[in-house]
């Protein structure tokens, strides 16, 4: 567009973007993931509920697999945490000075809140509940 420099995402992350750019990319990916998942689930659920469609039940069964649930939980939790940080910084622009620290805080809280239920889910899956 302007300077027409083609740089890879990795170069961008390494040079200046680092965690902030990674958060932006993840926010986009998780947001799109959520929209696709929720949209599909609503439509497929509608067909299953109204017409008893077997295909609908089969598609919805994908969401019950533990791998998919771990992915959805990551997407929703990350999008929520990152989004809250963004909304907070938008409503209180003075916080922009502390963006780096806020991102650290966000990940610091995210890791246990994601890790503990995921660990429990994985444990239940592997030992059978």
């Amino acid at each position: 567009m302007t300077l027409n420099r083609r740089v890879s995402i990795w170069a961008g992350l390494r040079y200046k973007g680092k965690l902030g750019m990674a958060n932006w990319i993840l926010h986009r990916i998780t947001g799109l993931g959520i929209v696709l998942f929720v949209g599909m689930h609503i439509i497929v659920g509608f067909f299953g509920q109204s017409f008893g469609s077997d295909a609908a039940f089969a598609i919805n069964a994908i969401y019950e697999s533990w791998g998919f649930q771990l992915f959805v939980y990551f997407s929703v939790l990350f999008h929520a945490f990152n989004g809250s940080r963004l909304a907070l910084m938008d409503i209180f622009p003075g916080l922009i000075r502390f963006q780096r620290e806020l991102i650290w805080l966000q990940w610091l809280i995210f890791i246990p809140v994601y890790g503990l239920p995921s660990f429990i889910m994985l444990q239940n899956t592997l030992t059978g509940v």
């Binding site: 567009m1 302007t2 986009r28 947001g31 799109l32 959520i34 929209v35 929720v38 949209g39 609503i42 439509i43 659920g45 509608f46 509920q49 109204s50 649930q69 939980y73 929703v76 929520a80 989004g83 809250s84 963004l86 909304a87 938008d90 409503i91 239920p117 429990i120 889910m121 239940n124 509940v129």
Partner: protein, 140 residues
Amino acid sequence: MQSSPSVRPRGPFEYGMWWFTRLSGLALILFGAVSLGAAFVLGGRTQLDMPAVFRWIFFPNPNHVINSDIPDIEQGWSNTFWQIYSMVMIFLAAGHGFNGLRMVIEDYITRPLLVRILRVTLLVLWLGGMVVAVFVILAS
């Protein structure tokens, strides 16, 4: 300084959607927290397994907890309050999500006609999706 032909002045719609995205996002988190608290109060601590709790937090639809140890789903889980709650949540979530889609599309597509077609498509999908979701909520 960067000069890009696709930068245009933002009007009241953009400003309104900017606020709506932030406030609806925070509101959705609050809705989830209230769902969690209500689930515990209704007995979900001993009647629901963890995935069911998460499903209820994400969207309080009785179908999400029907396979749990709840003795009577009519008692507290399947009633008008949760139906209205769910409908408000769907409105916030659909608006939030489709606005996000609009932002992502506008970031990558610059041709004005294509952008307008996609925006109208998004609007139709948004309205249609909400109608289907409300029907599913009421028919659960």
